[in-house]
C-alpha cells in the first residue's frame, strides 16, 4: 500500500471561484460544504479546528452537506486511531478560507504523483435550463491526463489532476468511460451515469492508476431545475374562435344582402 506522507497540501484555487457559483439568495454568512474521502485504503478521522468532526471516515464515502460559517478553518486528516496528540496528520490544510454563500466539496484525494492532498472544489449550483442536466468531472486520481467519453465520443479532453470540467447536457443516461488522454486505452468504465434533469452530477475519478485502485465517486446536487418558457399548444388557428369568425363574417354578409333586398322591396312598394 502507498505510504501516506505527511506532506501538507491544500488546493484553494477552487474556493476563489465559489463567489461566482454562489446563488444570490444564499446566506452570505455560511456555505454548504460536503466532504469526500478519495484516498484509497486509508480510513481516517477528520479534525476541523482541532476537533474531531468525521470519525472513521472510509474511502469512497461522501458526507451530506453541512453548513459551515464563513471563516478560516484548519483541516487535519489522521489515519484512523491516530490523534493530534499521538501523531502527525496524514494530510492537513491550514487556514482554509470558507466564503459565504458558496457550495463546496472538500475532497481528500491523491495528487497526480500519488501524494495525498486536500482540494476545495466550488460546485456550480446555478440554475440549469429546462430539460438539461449539468455534468462536472473532477480528476482526483493519481493518474495522468485523461479524456472522458460519452457514448464513445470525447466530451472532455486532456483533464489533469486536480482540475475539473463542467458541461451542460440534455438530461438522460449516458454511457461514459475514461481513457488516457489522446488514446483509446480505457482506465475507467464504461459506466452508465444518470444525468437527472435539474441536477449537477459531479463525478470524481479517484484512486491510483499504478496501484489499480482507480474508481468513480458520484455526488449529486439537485433542485437546480428551471421551468420551460411556455406551452405552445395550438398550431392550426382552426379552433372555435377562428371558425366563429368565419361564421360571423358570413352572417354579416348575409344580413347586408338581405337588408338591401328588404330596402329594394320597400322602395318598389312605395
Amino acid at each position: 500500500m502507498r505510504k501516506t506522507t505527511t506532506t501538507a497540501t491544500a488546493l484553494l484555487a477552487g474556493v476563489s471561484l465559489a463567489a461566482f457559483a454562489a446563488p444570490a439568495s444564499a446566506d452570505d454568512h455560511e456555505s454548504t460544504v460536503s466532504v469526500l474521502h478519495g484516498v484509497p485504503g486509508l480510513t481516517v478521522d477528520v479534525y476541523i479546528n482541532g476537533e474531531e468532526a468525521l470519525p472513521d471516515f472510509a474511502p469512497g464515502t461522501l458526507t451530506d452537506p453541512m453548513m459551515l460559517a464563513a471563516g478560516s478553518y484548519d483541516i487535519e486528516v489522521y489515519a484512523d486511531g491516530d490523534t493530534p496528540d499521538s501523531a502527525e496528520p496524514a494530510i492537513s490544510a491550514e487556514g482554509l478560507e470558507v466564503p459565504g454563500g458558496a457550495n463546496l466539496t472538500l475532497a481528500a484525494h491523491l495528487g497526480e504523483d500519488g501524494t495525498p492532498m486536500l482540494s476545495a472544489f466550488a460546485n456550480d449550483v446555478s440554475t440549469t435550463e429546462a430539460g438539461q442536466a449539468r455534468l462536472t468531472v473532477r480528476h482526483a486520481a493519481a493518474a495522468p491526463a485523461v479524456d472522458v467519453r460519452a457514448g464513445g465520443s470525447p466530451v472532455i479532453e486532456g483533464l489533469t489532476n486536480p482540475d475539473e470540467k463542467v458541461l451542460n447536457l440534455d438530461a438522460g443516461s449516458v454511457s461514459a468511460d475514461v481513457v488516457l488522454a489522446g488514446t483509446d486505452e480505457v482506465v475507467l468504465g464504461p459506466a452508465d451515469v444518470n444525468l437527472a434533469e435539474g441536477t449537477n452530477t459531479i463525478v470524481y475519478a479517484w484512486g491510483s492508476a499504478e496501484d489499480g485502485t482507480l474508481d468513480l465517486a458520484v455526488q449529486t446536487i439537485d433542485g437546480l431545475h428551471s421551468a420551460p418558457e411556455g406551452v405552445p399548444s395550438g398550431q392550426g388557428g382552426l379552433a372555435d374562435q377562428g371558425a366563429l369568425l368565419v361564421l360571423a363574417l358570413a352572417g354579416a354578409a348575409g344580413a347586408v344582402v338581405a337588408g338591401r333586398r328588404v330596402i329594394r322591396a320597400n322602395v318598389t312598394a312605395a
Binding site: 458526507t63 453541512m66 420551460p228 392550426g236 382552426l238 352572417g251 312598394a269
Partner: protein, 268 residues
Amino acid sequence: MRPRSRRRTRLDIVALLVTVVCVAVAGWALRGLLSSPVPQAADFGTDSPVSTAQAAPSSDTPAADDASGAAATEAPESPVADRSADDGRPAPQAAAPAAGSVPTPPARSSAALADRPDPAPAPVRLRAPSVDLDVPLDAVGVAADGQMEIPEDADRAGWYRHGPAPGTDNGSAVIAGHVDDRSGPGAFLALTEAREGDELEVDLADGSTATYRIVSRVSVAKPELAVDDLFRRDGSPTLHLVTCTGEWSRQTGHYTDNLVVTAEPVQG
C-alpha cells in the same frame, strides 16, 4: 295591382326572415367571440416566451381573481429563491454555527455510482368523463426553443416528464395538448367545456389510476403564464392541464392565451 302588392309583401317577409336568420347566426358567432377572454398580452403578435417568468408580477391578469389558479396568483419567485427553497438535500445543521465552530458529524453515504432509482409510474391516459375527453399521453420534455414539447398529433397530449408524475405526493404534474392542428380540433378543445368540480382520471403505467377534481379553469395571456409555479416540483400535489385559447395570431402562428385547468387529488 293588389296581387302584385301582396307578392311584394311576401317578398318582404322572405327577405326579413333571411335577415333575421343571418343576424342570429352573426349574433351567435359574436357571442362566441366575446365569451372567450380578450387577450391581455401587451406584446400581442410578438413571440417572446422568454419573458414569461419575468413578465408575470402584474396582479390584474385574468387569473388574479382566482385564488387557486395556476398562474399569476402571486408574483413568481425568482428561480434563485425557488432553488434555495426546494434544495433536495437540506443540510442537517440548519442553524448557522459561529465562525470556526465545528458542526456535529453529518450523515455520510457511499459515493459509488448508484443505479438509477425507480421513477414513479408514468401517466399513459387522461380521461375527463364529463366532457368526453379520453386522450393517450406521451412523456415529453423541452423543445429546441425552450418551450414545453407538445405531441404533434392533436389527438394525443404530453406529460412533462421532467416534473412530477400524476399520483405523486409533491408538486405540479403538467399535461398539455394542442387545442387544434391544421386538420381540425384537438382533443384538448374539450377542456373549454370542463367545469369546476369535474373529475379527471389519469391512468398510470403500473395499472393504477390517479383521480383529481377540477378546482379552477383560467385563461392567461401567454407572456404572463407563471411557468415557475405551473412547473413547480414541490408543494401541494396538483395536476395542471394546459392548452391554447384566445385569438389566433397569423403573424406568430400561435394563440395569444393559455387555458390552464387546475385539479387537486381526490382522496381515497
